[in-house]
Amino acid sequence: MTIRQLELEVMRYDPEKDEAPWFQNYSVPCEEDWAILDAINYVKENIDTTLSYRWSCHMMVCGSCGMMVNGEPSLTCKTFIRDLPDKVRIEPLENFPIERDLVVVLDDVMQKLHKVQPYIIRKDAPPQDKEFKQSPGALEKFKQYTMCINCMCCYAACPQYGLNQNFIGPAALALAHRYNLDSRDQGKSQRLDILADHDGVWDCSFVGACSEVCPKHVDPAAAIQQMKIDGAMEWWKQKLGFPGGES
């Protein structure tokens, strides 16, 4: 196996000791097929046990290992060293407070995910003794939005979230859209209060970076634009006295 020497420049920060974040360099002998996460694991196991970062599955499922790799929000288990130069800078996800080293505080986004009511809301009673029926076509409408693994790369890429932390943001809005589009759901008008509010979809200026960086190919930017259309139509419906839109 060929070994390639990679120079990792890793951001370190211990809020109890450091006044400001700083960079530490590690020289890592990498195998050609390694992902950046392998290189970071090598550092933790062989060079510096004090380095803190999150990871779990190493297979693009858990969404824990999102970091900035050479300035790009990336899932480090999916970012391979063969696609990178010999010097790589690793930083915690942009737009979030740092808890320690590469670990960020995700409380804000967790609250927002909860706020958009990401579950099936029924006004009628669910079918008794039988399943909800859903056609493949109806499933296709929202399926891509179910692929989100909450890695939060989209929040790190979003310039609007960087400017206004009250903005609900890409992943939570895409998740809301996933339930709005679900044929079993009846909670669209209930969610509209949050989604079409001042800090909801309108703050998005359609830069589209969220969709570009998404490692699971979800398209939050499209979800947000579609919800803007819904919100604008609903506003006119209400002003003109039409009955409220219901899914």
Partner: protein, 114 residues
């Protein structure tokens, strides 16, 4: 239900953006054509004037100009926000006032073409 007022201006912005993305490339192509010395008959002054004097022409020109003005106004507001200017209330008032003035002027001048 709390739908923010931004829904209205965003609606005009989206409609204006969609419309102008079709109209303006065609206009640029036509201007280039005229500049290079090819003026199709339909682009002669009398024909354009007759178009603007008809009610259908007035309506079409009003819709294009009105929506484009509001698209530009809202885009400018967002650009200021993106550049980090934190005076959204003031900027929104200014850009929408210009768009309103432009809309009124468009209506007035189109009405006065006979």
């Amino acid at each position: 239900m709390a739908i923010a007022k931004k829904a209205v201006v965003w609606g005009l912005f989206a409609a204006g953006g969609t419309l102008s993305s079709f109209i303006f490339p065609a206009l640029i192509a036509l201007f280039l054509l005229v500049a290079l010395g090819f003026t199709p008959d339909g682009l002669q002054y009398e024909h354009i004037y007759a178009f603007a004097a008809s009610w259908l022409g007035k309506a079409a020109l009003f819709i294009v100009l009105f929506l484009s003005l509001w698209h530009a106004a809202h885009r400018l507001r967002v650009v200021f926000h993106d550049f980090g200017v934190r005076k959204d209330g003031l900027i929104a008032t200014a850009v929408y006032l210009v768009a309103t003035a432009g809309t009124v002027m468009t209506a007035f001048y189109l009405y006065s073409i006979n």
